[in-house]
Subunit: 235 residues, 2 copies
Amino acid sequence: MRVEIWTDINCPFCYIGKSRFEQALDAFPHKDQVEVVHRSFELDPGLAKGETGSVVTKIAQKYGISEAQAAANERGLKEQAATLGLPYLSEGRDYGNSFDLHRLLHLAKEKGVQDAVVDALYRGNFAEEGSVFGDEERVVRLVVEAGLDESDVRAVLGDPSAYADAVRADEREAAELGAGGVPFFVLDRAYGVSGAQPAEVFTQALQQAWGDRAPLTVVDGGDACGPDGCAVPRT
Amino acid sequence: MRVEIWTDINCPFCYIGKSRFEQALDAFPHKDQVEVVHRSFELDPGLAKGETGSVVTKIAQKYGISEAQAAANERGLKEQAATLGLPYLSEGRDYGNSFDLHRLLHLAKEKGVQDAVVDALYRGNFAEEGSVFGDEERVVRLVVEAGLDESDVRAVLGDPSAYADAVRADEREAAELGAGGVPFFVLDRAYGVSGAQPAEVFTQALQQAWGDRAPLTVVDGGDACGPDGCAVPRT
């Protein structure tokens, strides 16, 4: 079974939602037959590379609330995270263009360390001092600690076209699947879960998708080769 | 829609089957929404790396037929290929361990040139003089012409662990899906086509899998972030 999670490193509910999903997955009896893939969704693709700012200030402006109210919202997220044992730094978080981070997530997928790199970038953005949007050297350190080769990381960051098409393709697919926001979880392309739902919702979705796994309907009988040889005329 | 094709470069019916599938795909009205992925299946994983020999001699021994009869079988394959416009060299083909070729197919998948590399290796094995099992420099030339970077190719060939797990994972999945031989086509993990069937069979399978594409059943309502912001308390 395959679970695809559309996500953005900017997105606190993606950080929280991943943890809730993992609670459900850890208790799922067929966990070892579930493949998880993280897919790209930029919340704000219009930001210039390197453009960053305070999340609290931005939220206050966007919703016409005071910075104190926006800061209280961040503390609310910290409390939600704490119920899951997730560290959350409620002050000083910044936002920024996440395109390069998504390109690194595609590199990490190829190298088999995607989940660890997602976690490292979430931690770097939500749980530790410092920026993942304005401090490229910090990003390099984080993802190398998570298992990527430094030379690969620098090659991707130095070539803006590397995995750019893969990021765009993920975003097109999200739109086709009707995902207007993230996190967006898709199970075997049959069931979707939108948002950071309670773990029980993910448990139900996993059970439902698992139960619906139909055996393949196979059209048999074509000429084929196998361990015992190809279909050859016998004497 | 996703079509996975388990295949081996050693397998003439994979070469022929791919062409028949492509006839069907080319005429399929939703072709541009079909993603094709080639997956690994070694017909003879027990062969040592670099161990090669004449296919005709091997077939003769395996089936207890004369070399003349085995050679006639190769000419029969040439005739089948000719009906599809596929070149086939009916004499002198060798067999060998295909593990390194499969590792290169995984590299090619990551680089977005997998289909061209599959075609290049088939051509190199079935349609041109020379070996793809005993002549690594020739393999490098073929796959570089098909779009891979030479340095990437040499790095993978020089590191036996590169993509080895990916090849093994494909083979495990083939077994789980019940594929005892190749080519084995899987459409959206719902329909399977075993062997080099006529193009009409692939057309039917494409139509059936397309018709069965259900819209996602989405559990909505979780906290999420979108282009217009995250779920934050309004004043």
